[in-house]
Symmetry: C2
Subunit: 403 residues, 2 copies
């Protein structure tokens, strides 16, 4: 019917309501019948939430068997009590599952700086572990239990052949567009039954997250609680991959990128304040890092984002933002295309402004999906990024939030 | 990745936030590129919501091309203004889509008796029709925009071969367990690209809904706004099915039943007040109607539902409820099984109480999924039903709701 995280071998889930959020599920539990290897990336913010500190410690050996996430309270800026709360979450799950607490990955999302309701949450964990199930509704429960201001659950599922072995991969993510940037934590948990050694998994997760989750813009902020974790439990029984040259690695990596890009784009697409989904591309660049830096510079420009909201083909702002990116950028060799996902118009060719039908362009920019493509004519590297426009609603929401 | 309603040929969707619900999507739009045949069943409550009245009128010819649903206001007990509001919704969608208003199926869910915000909703329709898209996120938006107190979106997708033609079928549903029974509307919209004549479709939808959506219990109430509608747009290009003997009909009917049962069970599984998902079966019955009546009598018994919450194998209550069902029932020929989904224990054989291990039974009844099976030893008809238990939380929620 609908395949999700519960269709990965050995994975059971649940999502429960403990009472932190009114009327919505707020506790997600994911369990692998066998220990899994973990690759993860966490926030680069200097203010680090307590569960992230714990996860960095417990997952240092690259092993995990369960994920426990609460929503509604970020357990950030909560000091030693908050850290103890995160430890207590791991301990409660470990007790019920009869595993070591170091095998439990804890994450939180929600309000920063609120006292952490350790007792309610650990009670919720103890009460709900026995409900862990592999039916698809249990996967939906988990996907919904990690949400805060999100307006829909983000899920992905892939099955593919890896050198003769059938591999499943599924993920859930959280991150709502632009309504409440202060709650804008990004969480993503991906589980797969592929067998891969931990060093290679960690390296791969870092590299692929860089091209996907790190190439989306909500409002430029990195939350104290951001985490992307991939658990691989090996139950597909393929020969464990050790190096990038191993059979099947390319396929696995491409599928992981597909999954991460899918979840990342769903995060961007959520958020009522946003009216458009914008794809940014820089190609024929001297190297990938340059391409990425240019994409990020353009998609973080409030001038560009506001122009897209207003359907204004003001390409000068794009070139201007690129020129400020801090990497070599000679606009005289650049081609720039603007349009929707199906039709793009060349507005700048080798730095020379092109004549185009303004009415047609206005029509293209009315679309919900916009594409901005920058051809650097200076190499063969490329990067993509995704973002939302900047709307009057966004400003309205965020100008009155504390009053 | 994740297939949903947008993977049916010719179907486009959107889900928007108009402001009736704070922070959540509250307007769903579904559009078929070509006119579709419609089969539907609507509430049997004598108080009928305005959009249901309109849908009965507009869909009388069995044709529709769009579905427009708002959540947050039920448009029920709203009188002539409410009816005009429903008409205005159809008109707004028809204007933007350049179709006749009679081709628009309107539905609503939310609070009963509130003035209907016609202007906000029609503005929402006019603003969002141009966003209709066939990407999967748009399907998720629609699935989420019909929710009220639901804690997760209910979606289903099936693809199958019908006599050499590839057919797609997808559905979304709404209905939350037991938190707010007064908001407990059940909505289900299923779209398929199969070709089937309207009379046969309508007959099939009625019969299959009877075995699925009409065999779930939330709290026994039928909402003023309930509707189950199936749109079949024929884009799979199979030879249109005309009679039950036509090639492929059996396959189609089985798939429709699978879809409806899936969505119905998801509705039951939602609701924080509930702690268990219970499957009821009556089999070896003289006829289907008797089997169904018995299942309904048992699953509507508050004593049975409370016993399941308390893990009490009090089978006397089940027999008692069956005896009150109003159909012939001789307990002396009945076998009764109780347990979880994997293991059942025979507690009554031909009316004679059986000895069983009480500790083992208690353990079985701790499961989140319980099965109650009644063998009537009196024929070969059967019926299934699904319900939740009755919990202290349910009573608590509903005893304080208006205060």
């Amino acid at each position: 019917m609908i395949k999700n995280i519960t269709n990965v071998r050995g994975i059971k889930c649940w999502g429960a309501h403990t009472g932190i959020k009114s009327m919505r599920r707020d506790l997600a539990l994911i369990y692998s019948e066998v220990p899994a290897n973990v690759g993860m990336v966490t926030t680069q913010n200097q203010v680090v939430a307590e569960p992230i500190k714990l996860a960095r410690k417990y997952m240092a050996d690259g092993k995990a068997q369960a994920i426990v996430v609460n929503a509604g309270n970020a357990n950030a800026c909560t000091g030693p009590d908050g850290y103890k709360g995160a430890e207590a979450m791991a301990q409660a799950a470990a007790d019920e599952l009869k595993i070591e607490p170091e095998m439990v990955l804890v994450a939180s999302t929600g309000l920063i700086g609120e006292p952490f309701p350790t007792e309610e949450i650990t009670k919720g964990i103890r009460d709900n572990i026995r409900k862990l199930a592999s039916k698809s509704s249990a996967g939906s429960f988990a996907a919904n239990a990690i949400l805060t201001t999100d307006t829909f659950a983000k899920e992905g599922f892939l099955e593919f052949d890896l050198d003769g072995f059938e591999v499943n991969m599924a993920g859930i993510a959280k991150g709502s567009g632009m309504i409440h940037p202060r709650l804008g934590t990004m969480l993503a948990f991906i589980v797969t039954d592929v067998a891969i050694e931990v060093d290679l998994l960690q390296k791969t997760v870092r590299e692929v997250a860089e091209k996907t989750f790190n190439m989306i813009t909500v409002d430029g902020d990195t939350s104290t609680n951001d985490i992307v974790a991939v658990l691989a439990n090996g139950m597909a029984e393929n020969e464990p991959m050790k190096t990038k040259r191993d059979k099947g690695y390319k396929v696995f990596r491409a599928k992981l990128e597909e999954m991460m890009e899918h979840l990342a784009k769903l995060i961007v697409s959520d958020g009522e304040g946003a009216s458009k989904f914008i794809t940014y591309e820089a190609f024929n660049a001297p190297d990938e890092e340059t391409a990425r830096t240019l994409v990020r510079a353009v998609f973080d420009s409030t001038l560009v984002k506001a122009a897209m909201f207003g359907r204004d083909p003001n390409w000068g702002r794009i070139i201007c933002a690129a020129g400020n990116a801090g990497v070599p950028f000679d606009y005289r060799s650049v081609d720039l295309y603007l349009g929707d996902d199906n039709s793009q118009v060349l507005v700048l060719e080798k730095g020379i402004p092109q004549k185009y039908d303004r009415k047609y362009m206005k029509k293209l920019l009315r679309a919900a999906d916009i594409t901005i493509r920058l051809d650097l004519n200076n190499g063969d590297a490329k990067a993509k990024g995704w973002g939302a426009d900047l709307t009057t609603d966004y400003v309205l929401f965020n100008s009155v939030y504390t009053t």
